[in-house]
Subunit: 236 residues, 2 copies
Amino acid sequence: MKTARRKAEATNRLLARLPDLDRRRLLAKSTSVQLRTTDVLYERGKRIREVYFPTGGSISLIATLHGHDRLQVGLVGDEGMLGTSLVLGVTVSPTLALVQDCGTAWQIDAASFREELECSVALRGCLQRYVHVVMCQSAQTVACTRFHVVEARLARWLLMTRDRAHSDHFHSTHESLATILGVRRAGVTHAAGSLQQQRLIRYSRGEITVLDHHGLEASACACYVANQDTYARVMN
Amino acid sequence: MKTARRKAEATNRLLARLPDLDRRRLLAKSTSVQLRTTDVLYERGKRIREVYFPTGGSISLIATLHGHDRLQVGLVGDEGMLGTSLVLGVTVSPTLALVQDCGTAWQIDAASFREELECSVALRGCLQRYVHVVMCQSAQTVACTRFHVVEARLARWLLMTRDRAHSDHFHSTHESLATILGVRRAGVTHAAGSLQQQRLIRYSRGEITVLDHHGLEASACACYVANQDTYARVMN
DNA sequence: CGTGGTTTGTACGGTGCCCCACGAAAAAAC
DNA sequence: GTTTTTTCGTGGGGCACCGTACAAACCACG
């Protein structure tokens, strides 16, 4: 089942910041692709072949430990990009990149991207600032994962995903949420059940609806707002 | 009390990678400063006035949450630099930077540093790669903090600090280790006591000595080696 | 030599989450 | 319509770590 999405706003907010000329030159080398849930865009330690600028949906950045422990360390939507490593001159991905919520993105091959990076000062500046945002959010996530309880972290994730979906409705099972939050599936069921009882969300077999996003913000840890602030402060 | 250190090797490993000319130009604008334990070099959200290239000792990068929860998200020594944000064109520090282990560093004011960054391709390339290393290590730390027990994380920290001190002996109380690891002081006492009983370390009133670093590696989580591998892979 | 501050040892009850496991209910496949 | 798969609910025992608190050991200093 697909969620209704405002296709009219199919833009990427990073690209939107570029001067018209720079953006048009970049888009000329890009193709619009569909991102489908569970698609693997990058694998840890493997070469980055394409860069993505999502215009809808969201992609998880997932850290993998020796062993089978996994955990989400970042979430990318139309406010960001996939392939920050290339901005730093590194061609290998440090994390697994997994499509969480289906959508579309501009796709550019790595070589063309690096060419554009060379000749556009605005592109470099914008993307380097975005890299900094990712670093800040990563630091925040370290502390968040350590100190905050599952229910608050789940609420934060729901809000972040809602923002990127541009919709109160999106898809994710308890199982996949367990991987994202780095907890047991049963732990997610418990936390999600609590949020549902408070009438903040409603869900059924992977279909999640945010009923009261203000209430959800109250349940979420302050990391949600902190990340938004970081983005606004650094990018402006 | 000071630890004996090999002053002969007072170099920074990032700077050592630069072509002679670029390095000399950078050092011409730098001054050598002493870093003393508990010195605050950066504060969260505040302007970065100087950049540091440590040549000894180590500096903690510490994330602060709303509330009083704190946690180390990075450790910088002569293998790295302080002020990565400036490499990305951002002049504000995302974390608190606290001197853990006394030592020396090359200090450069922000403006001069940015000038050098403009005109040296090698400097940009080297430091951007280092930024990538920091991102990788941060992602690793998110998962490590979530999944690994205190004793393993403590062992990892001891090894990392030992590398940066270039000595088996260095200073840190259980109290400060508690902040670094994001646990209670009593938790550190327990874990440290266990490591001491295994004859891997010895400590007394903040003076720590690593007795068996191979044994310590076995007690530490794989994140220690993983971070070393990342550094070697990305920087070479 | 006593006093005060710092550092470390330890104990107790509590909690958040783990591991394991089973069952139920809804959707999908046949 | 029956079977298989996916998703979700729940329970019991256990463990790592928490919050708190108190005491002992050690060092610095008057």
